[in-house]
């Protein structure tokens, strides 16, 4: 048996390596303030300032009184914090005869955003699923048209859509607006869902078919539970898009449904004497609050979903 001769050999090696000059040992020292770190964090901080500056200015200005704003520096923090602009923006800013600020638009926005988001995502996800897993002749052609549609400026489409909605008899109704949001959300959402579902292992889909599951069963029981990230992405995109929409909200509905952005536009654009910057800023922040909130809450999933749905090697 040759089992043990390596031991002696090792001992010899050991002896030899002991003679090796001692030198650095352990982890390579890393200074916290290395040039590289200064460069990276320095850049990031400068960039972060650029991104934060407008928000900072908005918040600061909205907390100042008009006299203080007139005195100048928009970057200076308020000497005296006042929430009056917020109150005014929310409850008493006027447009025409209506002096109830953004508040009346808020619930309209909710009433528009929630169903529009749900309907558009529901439809787009089913489309994406059909495209990714149940390809049939011609599907790709329609999809290509749809994608090219993503590039068409909305303004161009207003007239044809007015005609379509009129012919369907739903012009001016909430249904009509939901339909419009669904239509314009469809290209990019369908693309996202299609890429996402195509990225799921195809064998899973095959297994479910062998198990006897049909189109809808597979969609609801297999695909949906696996698709949280992409639904979050779609949700964020739609909530932001629909909540921020002004044009469709005002063109395709009637005043009782006008979303918050219409009020925002009215407040910001109805100059009564001097511009009340503080109220405008407060109104702006209030209007952006919902999408911002959605972002902060689900931002992490957003990045994951983007990675899964939008970016294909």
């Amino acid at each position: 048996m040759v089992a043990f001769n390596s031991v002696t050999e090792e001992a010899a090696l050991q002896a030899q390596t002991n003679r090796v000059v001692a030198g650095p040992r352990g982890a390579k020292p890393r200074r916290a303030l290395s040039g590289r770190n200064i460069m990276i964090y320095g850049t990031l901080i400068v960039v972060a300032l650029y991104y934060l500056l407008p928000l900072y200015v908005m918040v600061m200005t909205s907390l100042k009184g008009m006299p203080e704003i007139r005195l100048g520096n928009i970057f200076a923090p308020p000497v005296e914090i006042t929430f009056e602009p917020w109150a005014k923006a929310w409850a008493s800013a006027c447009t025409g005869l209506n002096c109830d600020g953004l508040s009346r638009g808020f619930w309209n926005s909710v009433r528009i955003t929630v169903p529009s988001t749900i309907v558009s995502i529901a439809i787009a996800s089913v489309n994406g699923y059909a495209l990714a897993n149940w390809r049939f002749k011609g599907a790709e052609l329609f999809f290509t048209i749809l994608i090219v549609g993503a590039f068409i400026p909305y303004q161009v489409m207003i007239y044809p859509i007015v005609i379509v909605l009129r012919e369907m008899g739903i012009y001016g109704t909430l249904t009509g607006l939901i339909l419009v949001h669904t239509i314009f959300g469809m290209p990019i959402l369908t693309l996202l869902f299609r890429n996402y579902f195509a990225g799921l292992p195809e064998e899973l889909f095959k297994a479910a078919r062998v198990d006897g599951a049909g189109f809808w069963t597979i969609y609801f029981k297999i695909m949906l539970p696996m698709s949280l990230p992409i639904f979050v992405v779609a949700m964020i995109l739609q909530v932001t898009g629909i909540w921020n929409d002004f044009l469709f909200g005002v063109v395709f509905t009637r005043p009782e449904y006008y979303p918050m952005t219409v009020q925002l536009n009215n407040i910001v654009n109805s100059v009564q004497g001097v511009k009340e910057y503080n109220v405008n800023m407060a109104a702006t922040i209030l209007t952006g609050a919902v999408p911002l909130f959605v972002y902060f809450v689900s931002g992490r999933l957003f990045v994951r979903g983007i990675a899964a749905g939008a970016v294909k090697g």
């Binding site: 990276i40 850049t43 990031l44 972060a48 991104y51 407008p54 928000l55 200015v57 704003i69 100048g72 520096n73 928009i74 489309n127 699923y129 059909a130 149940w134 390809r135 049939f136 790709e140 052609l141 329609f142 290509t144 048209i145 994608i147 090219v148 549609g149 590039f151 068409i152 400026p153 303004q155 161009v156 489409m157 007239y159 044809p160 379509v164 239509i183 469809m186 369908t190 189109f215 809808w216 932001t240 921020n244 002004f246 925002l264 536009n265 910001v268 405008n280 800023m281 702006t284 209007t287 952006g288 999408p291 911002l292 972002y295 902060f296 931002g299 957003f302 939008a310 970016v311 090697g313």
Partner: protein
């Protein structure tokens, strides 16, 4: 081996995948009726002299002749070209550099990412307003710098016809680069760790690895990003309206605004449609070959 039960002949092709077809009806309708139908409708009416309401009274290429003679249209096209090129370059550049920085296993990654991404949650209207304030020479950045002592400091892009489009660009980049950064970051995270290791063993400096190895590997991500940015560029409208309303003068006009203004303010639908058609043609020239390669033909399953 005799006696196979026959039957189960080839079923009607239309009925196969019926559910999938039914489920795709909304998409097909949207594609055909709205996007295709709307486009054809638009093109057809661009050859008419429709005013407030669409009318089928054809006038040949008159609308196009007028369009290409209109200084405002020419400026719009020029602006879009400048805005488009710079916005593409800078979005990709800034987005990539930021993503590369974020990819250095930094601390507070989440915080930085949120900061860069939050403007994307805000509408162009809001973005335009905020930057209009910030760039206002009377109380914005210029006045602040002046009050610090640099009396001759001038930074009023929105009031200078020569550079106004760059003022809009600043706001657009503020709003959109976060998303680009996210896309790029996702792309970078998809790169095989081993490539980095191989490059380190080969002694290739980090920046060279990015330029010669990593960026070429991210072709797909770049294309997706390009599509997203490009579709936004063509549609740019709200931002201009909110920031400058096309001013000073007509120095920051863009095609989408031309379309809208002529369709609704000037009540000259024909002119608006002609301008839309020109935009559509531009888009088609850029997009259709790409869309075909990406989604049409080839690569079929099932």
């Amino acid at each position: 081996m005799a006696g196979y039960t026959q039957g189960s002949g080839r079923p009607n092709q239309w009925l196969r995948n019926l559910n999938a077809k039914i489920a795709s009806v909304p998409m097909i309708l949207t594609a055909v009726v709205i996007f295709l139908g709307g486009t054809i409708w638009t093109v057809v009416y661009s050859f008419t002299n429709s005013k407030l309401l669409p009318r089928l009274s054809f006038v040949g290429l008159d609308q196009y002749e007028r369009l290409w003679a209109a200084p405002r249209w020419l400026i719009s096209v020029q602006n879009l070209a400048i805005y488009g090129i710079f916005s593409l370059i800078f979005s990709l550049l800034i987005g990539f550099v930021l993503a590369a920085l974020m990819d250095q296993k930094i601390r507070f990654e989440n915080t930085f990412r949120t900061i860069m991404l939050y403007p994307f949650a805000l509408s162009f209207i809001v973005t335009g307003l905020v930057w209009q304030w910030l760039l206002n020479p009377e109380f914005g950045i210029q006045s602040v710098v002046r009050s610090l002592g640099w009396e001759s400091f001038t930074f009023d892009p929105l009031y200078n016809a020569d550079i106004v489009i760059y003022g809009i660009l600043i706001a657009a980049l503020w709003q959109g680069t976060g998303l680009v950064m996210c896309l790029m970051l996702a792309g970078l995270r998809g790169i095989d760790e081993d490539i980095w290791k191989a490059a380190r063993v080969d002694g290739i400096p980090m920046w060279k690895t990015y330029i010669f190895v990593v960026i070429p590997m991210m072709r797909g991500v770049f294309i997706t990003t390009l599509v997203i940015i490009a579709s936004g560029i063509v549609k740019v409208y709200d931002l201009v309206v909110a920031q400058t309303s096309g001013g000073p003068g007509i120095a920051s006009e863009v095609p989408a605004k031309y379309v809208y203004d002529y369709m609704f303010q000037a009540q000259n639908l024909g002119q608006g449609f002609a301008a839309s058609t020109m935009m559509l043609i531009t888009v088609a020239i850029i997009i259709v070959p790409w869309a075909y390669l990406e989604f049409g033909g080839g690569r079929k399953r099932v």
